[in-house]
C-alpha cells in the first residue's frame, strides 16, 4: 500500500493522526509526518484516515 498526501491541500488538521496513529502523526511543530508505505494490515485504519481528512488530501494507491 502506497500513501501520498497532497501537501498543498494538507492543513495539519491532524484527524488522520487520530484515525491511524501508526501511520500519521503531528510533530511538535504541528506539522504532519507519515509513513508512505504502511503494512497491509493497516489498510482499514489508513482508509479511515483518508475518509476523515477534512480537506481530502490523503491518497491511497493499490
Amino acid at each position: 500500500m502506497k500513501v501520498t498526501v497532497d501537501l498543498d491541500k494538507c492543513q495539519d488538521h491532524g484527524q488522520c493522526a487520530i484515525a491511524a496513529p501508526e501511520v500519521f502523526r503531528i510533530n511538535d511543530e504541528g506539522r504532519l509526518e507519515f509513513d508512505d508505505a504502511p503494512a497491509e494490515e493497516l489498510r482499514d485504519a489508513v482508509e479511515e484516515a483518508a475518509d476523515v481528512c477534512p480537506v481530502q488530501a490523503i491518497l491511497i494507491e493499490d
Binding site: D12, H13, G14, N27, D28, G30, P54, I58
Partner: protein, 391 residues
C-alpha cells in the same frame, strides 16, 4: 428482481453509506439518487477555499472507495415521494424505484428569511453551485450583508473581507456563534472580525428586503449589493410524508439509525435525529462534519445485517461529534457537544485576547461534554479530545 438498496441523497452521508454497505458485505445492487448534478463533494471548503477563490470546484470532490465503482448514480434526480409500505420511491421524472433497503440521506437545505421584498441579490450557501454563484458577486468595495452570525455566516463574512467587500453581519442574538461556543469565545471572535473590518449589528433582525438594502427591526436601512442568508437549515424530509414517521425535526431514528417500525429503512447524516448515549437519551440532529461518516457506519451495519438475516451489533452507538471552522488566520476545532454545556471552564490561554492557543471546556453536571480549541496546534488535539472521551 435482484435485491436492491437505494440511498436517497448523494452527499457525504450517502457516499459513506454506500461504501459502508459494501464494507459490511452487501454485494447486491446499490443506487444513489442525488438532487445535485455533482458527484459527492466536501462542503466545508465551500465557505472557505472555494468562496475565497483558492480552490476550484473539482478540488472539493470526495475520495470514493473502489468498492462503490459498481454503484448506480442517479444524479440531478430527486426523490419526490415514498411509500414505505410498498418499498417504493417516486423520482422527479416520474419513475418508480423499488427497494429492499432504503438509506435516507437527503440532508438539509438553507432556511430562508420569511420577510417581504425582492429576491434579487439574495444568496444562500449550502451547495457548490451556491458557492460559485456567491463568489461571482464578491468584489472589492461591494456591500455585503450577512444575515446570521453562526459559523457559516461568520466564515462567509471573513472570506468576503478577504475579497475586499464591505461586510455587515446582522444577528438577532447578542453574540456571534454563542449557541455553539458560548459568550466568551463568541465575543473574542467578534472582536477579531471587527479588527478585520466587519461590522456587527447584533440584537437585530431583518424585517424586509428593499431594492439594494435590508430593513432592520429598528427601522434602519442597511445598503446591500449582496445579501447572504445564513440562518440555519431545514431537513429535506417532505418526500417521506404520509408514512407515519416522526419528521418533526429530520427523521427520528433509534440508536441503530433505523426509522420507527421499518427495519429496512435507516437514516444517515444531517437529516437523522438519533440518540447518543455519550450524553443522554434525547434524539438530536447533529450538523457536524464527522456525523455523516459515523452514522453511515452504524446505519450500514444495521441494514446489511437485516438484509442478510444476521443478528444486529449489540455495541452501543456513541459517536464523538467534531467540527472545525477557519476564520482569517484562526482555526477553531471542537470535540464533543459544547452546546450541551451549562458551565464553561477555561483550560488554556487568554480567551479574551485569543493570542496563542485557547482551550475551553464545556461542562454539564460537572462533566466535560465538549471542548473548543482556537489556535491550538493539532499535535495537542488528541490530549483535549481525550478529555471529552474519557468522561
Amino acid at each position: 428482481m435482484a435485491a436492491h438498496v437505494v440511498v436517497a441523497g448523494a452527499g457525504m452521508a450517502g457516499l459513506r453509506a454506500a461504501e459502508r454497505l459494501r464494507a459490511e458485505g452487501w454485494d447486491g445492487a446499490v443506487t444513489v439518487v442525488g438532487a445535485e448534478p455533482h458527484p459527492p463533494y466536501n462542503r466545508p471548503p465551500l465557505s472557505k477555499e472555494v468562496l475565497a477563490g483558492r480552490a476550484d470546484a473539482g478540488a472539493t470532490a470526495l475520495r470514493r472507495r473502489g468498492s462503490v465503482e459498481d454503484v448506480c448514480w442517479e444524479l440531478g434526480r430527486r426523490v419526490v415521494a415514498a411509500s414505505l409500505a410498498d418499498r417504493a420511491l417516486t423520482l422527479d421524472d416520474g419513475r418508480r424505484l423499488a427497494y429492499d433497503g432504503l438509506v435516507v440521506a437527503t440532508g438539509l437545505r438553507p432556511r430562508r428569511l420569511a420577510v417581504p421584498g425582492p429576491a434579487a441579490g439574495r444568496h444562500v450557501l449550502r451547495t457548490l453551485d451556491d458557492a460559485l454563484a456567491l463568489r461571482a458577486e464578491l468584489a472589492p468595495g461591494r456591500r455585503v450583508v450577512v444575515v446570521g452570525a453562526g459559523f457559516v455566516g461568520c466564515e462567509v463574512a471573513a472570506t468576503a473581507r478577504g475579497h475586499g467587500c464591505r461586510v455587515t453581519v446582522v444577528e438577532p442574538l447578542p453574540v456571534p456563534m454563542e449557541r455553539a461556543i458560548g459568550p466568551e469565545l463568541g465575543e473574542a471572535l467578534r472582536r477579531r472580525h471587527e479588527e478585520r473590518g466587519v461590522r456587527f449589528l447584533t440584537g437585530r433582525a431583518v424585517t424586509a428586503f428593499a431594492p439594494g438594502a435590508v430593513v432592520l427591526d429598528d427601522g434602519r436601512t442597511v445598503p446591500a449589493d449582496v445579501v447572504v442568508e445564513a440562518i440555519g437549515s431545514v431537513p429535506n424530509v417532505e418526500w417521506l410524508d404520509g408514512n407515519g414517521l416522526d419528521l418533526s425535526d429530520g427523521v427520528l431514528c433509534d440508536d441503530r439509525m433505523r426509522v420507527e417500525g421499518r427495519p429496512e429503512v435507516v437514516a444517515v447524516g444531517d437529516v437523522a435525529r438519533f440518540p447518543n448515549p455519550r450524553y443522554d437519551d434525547v434524539p438530536r440532529r447533529v450538523e457536524h462534519w464527522c456525523v455523516p461518516a459515523d452514522t453511515a457506519r452504524r446505519a450500514a451495519a444495521t441494514l446489511a445485517a437485516h438484509l442478510a438475516g444476521r443478528p444486529l451489533d449489540d455495541a452501543p452507538f456513541a459517536p464523538l461529534p467534531s467540527f472545525w471552522s477557519d476564520q482569517y488566520d484562526l482555526r477553531l476545532q471542537s470535540f464533543g457537544m459544547p452546546a450541551l454545556g451549562d458551565r464553561r471552564v477555561p483550560l488554556e490561554g487568554d480567551a479574551h485576547a485569543l493570542t496563542g492557543g485557547v482551550a475551553m471546556a464545556y461542562h454539564r453536571d460537572d462533566r466535560p461534554v465538549g471542548v473548543v480549541l482556537i489556535g491550538v496546534p493539532a499535535s495537542r488535539h488528541r490530549h483535549y479530545r481525550e478529555l471529552v472521551t474519557a468522561s
